[in-house]
């Protein structure tokens, strides 16, 4: 398997934005260095030829876990909203949403 390109500052800026994190310029430099190091170490994995090996997503092979369609008690609304940062009209209030969902 071909190794992916080395992690760049731009990559880190991109994933930071994707993950809703703001990084200062110093942090961007620092994290890029640190993360690149980790990925270099992980290159031994990326470069292995494992074609034909099935990925294991679940260590224990369980299937068909289902639940009956019966109502269970809901949470107390006051208890829930009491923990919310901002509430109006029994709803969670958020500042202006800029656009539609991606």
């Amino acid at each position: 398997m071909a190794e992916p390109a080395r992690l760049t500052r731009q990559d880190v800026a991109h994933v930071a934005a994707l993950a809703r994190l703001h990084l200062s310029d110093e942090e961007l430099d620092l994290y890029t260095g640190q993360l690149a190091q980790v990925l270099d170490h992980a290159a031994d994995v990326a470069s292995l030829d494992l074609a034909g090996v099935a990925p294991t997503a679940h260590a224990m092979a369980v299937i068909n876990v289902l639940r009956l369609d019966e109502p269970r008690p809901c949470l107390d609304r006051d208890e829930v909203l009491g923990q919310a940062p901002s509430v109006e009209d029994h709803r969670f209030r958020v500042p202006r949403i800029l656009g539609e969902a991606p």
Partner: protein
């Protein structure tokens, strides 16, 4: 200096009315009072509610009722276990003060068994770390040497038990976060087979790896706690719907006829005094009737890299929900995107951010197959490697951590070096297998060393059986000065 009383004994005496839950609790609260300022094992000591509960336990006993197998035993809970109405912070600013409106399943099971929750313990932020130094609320100190780390991420729980603050504690283990601090603090710590203990109410770090497990001062007490918390839970789809091993009953069955494989790859990176202890444990097992052989599982060498692709990947998704909308801290801004960003930037520490970004990267388009999916293939290889080993051996033996406790601050600036602490524990998480760390004497520096037993899925009975034999042969470890130890 006396060793703490076994939890089993405490519970038995309370149930028999020969001891009072209130007295037991007060004793432990006094120990905490004396030592907590130095150690900082807790984010929250729950004195009032614990007293209330202890009184209720005593009242039950007085009324002729049986409170359960953990009657009156103080138990400390890692602060990523949801406790209704009680702050659950994961040692993160972003959840500072958050009170869950529900209890984790294990918390309910503890309550049903008569336990008294004594407090929420400190941890690496969102369980990401190997030293408890990434906690937003200050680090925990190792009771054996206050300049040393207790290990992580369940450092607070390990330290609490080591210091005599509570006989039992729960932690979580994703890459070694129970076993490694257990080893560094000189207590027993165990990670169950994936799916045997419900994750409902455990704040998720890496969903396919996380498991809740016990800390105790003895194998028997860890078994007692495991038997209480284990078992199918319909609220957790990954919970195994088959009988969970019951371990307390098999503890004394010995190791005669068993084969124990000493895992060479784990010895390779360990300090000489750690290696010496592992060999000593192997000799003790041989003397007790086990067959010892050296075994190699070369695939485990890939574990660290695979783990640092899978765990951050899942974590980046699990931690997306901390967005300032529904709970936790919010840093306000003009629009929602800015608010999410300001909140997460202020609320998360550096290690959490690192792993979120790393995880986002390895999952992103163009890289997922090379990194994340590739790591899942490595996982298959590791499982196959272990399967080959377990065709010859009943259990495997090795160190839990490559060194004794390192100094606070020693590895904090070098993430990669920190990650290497978990090289002996990570492969079991990837395979979903159980493993237990048993204290086995001091290292050259007098600090605790733990040896680790590993077994195939659902082999907890065997593991505990062998662990009991190892424990019996363990060289004495100095009990930390902090403990008053005196029973009431």
């Amino acid at each position: 200096m006396t060793t703490p009383r076994p939890a089993q004994e405490i519970a038995a005496m309370i149930r028999a009315g020969e001891d009072s839950a209130v007295d037991v609790l007060e004793h432990h609260l006094a120990v905490i009072e004396a030592g907590e300022e130095s150690i900082h094992a807790f984010n929250l000591v729950m004195g009032e509610s614990a007293r209330h509960r202890a009184r209720a336990i005593d009242a039950q006993v007085a009324a002729g009722e049986d409170p359960g197998p953990l009657a009156g035993i103080p138990v400390a809970l890692k602060d990523n276990l949801c406790t209704r109405g009680v702050p659950t912070t994961c040692s993160s600013r972003i959840l500072e003060g958050w009170r869950p409106p529900y209890d984790a399943t294990v918390v309910t099971r503890l309550a049903d068994a008569g336990a008294v929750i004594i407090g929420k313990t400190n941890m690496d932020e969102f369980a990401m770390g190997s030293s408890t130094e990434t906690s937003a609320f200050g680090t925990t100190c190792n009771p054996h040497d206050l300049t040393r780390v207790p290990g992580g991420s369940s450092g607070g729980s390990a330290a609490a038990v080591a210091a005599g603050f509570a006989p039992l504690a729960l932690g979580s283990d994703t890459g070694g976060s129970i076993r490694q601090p257990a080893a560094l603090c000189g207590v027993v710590g165990m990670k169950p087979t994936y799916g045997t203990v419900s994750r409902y109410g455990l704040v998720a770090f890496a969903s396919s790896l996380d498991q809740i497990g016990p800390f105790a001062t003895s194998v028997a007490d860890a078994a007692l706690l495991f038997d209480v918390i284990g078992g199918h839970d319909p609220l957790d789809s990954t919970s195994l719907n088959r009988p969970t091993p019951r371990v307390l009953s098999v503890l004394d069955e010995g190791v005669d006829g068993m084969t124990v494989g000493v895992l060479t790859e784990f010895l390779d990176g360990a300090d000489p005094d750690v290696v010496a202890r592992v060999n000593q444990a192997a000799e003790a097992l041989a003397a007790a009737g086990a067959r010892i052989e050296e075994i190699s599982v070369p695939e485990v060498a890939l574990g660290l890299s695979a783990y640092y692709l899978i765990a951050p990947g899942e974590a980046s998704s699990n931690l997306a929900r901390y967005d300032g909308v529904r709970y936790g801290v919010r840093v306000d801004a003009e629009d929602t995107v800015a608010m999410n960003t300001a909140t997460r930037t202020a609320g998360f520490g550096a290690e959490v951010k690192r792993r979120i970004m790393l995880g986002t990267y390895v999952l992103s388009a163009g890289y997922m197959d090379a990194y994340y999916n590739q790591a899942l293939r490595v996982r298959t290889k590791i499982i196959e490697g272990f399967a080959t080993a377990y065709a010859r051996c009943d259990v495997l033996l090795g160190p839990t951590a490559p060194t004794t406790a390192f100094a606070i601050g020693a590895k904090v600036d070098d993430p990669l070096t920190m990650y290497l602490s978990d090289v002996c524990t990570i492969p079991t998480n990837l395979a979903g297998h159980p493993a237990i760390s048993i204290p086995f004497g001091p290292g050259d520096d007098g600090l605790p060393i733990g040896v680790q037993l590993l077994g195939p899925a659902l082999s907890e009975g065997t593991l505990f059986q062998v662990a009991a034999v190892v424990e019996a042969a363990a060289p004495a470890l100095r009990v930390p000065r902090i403990t008053t130890g005196a029973p009431s």
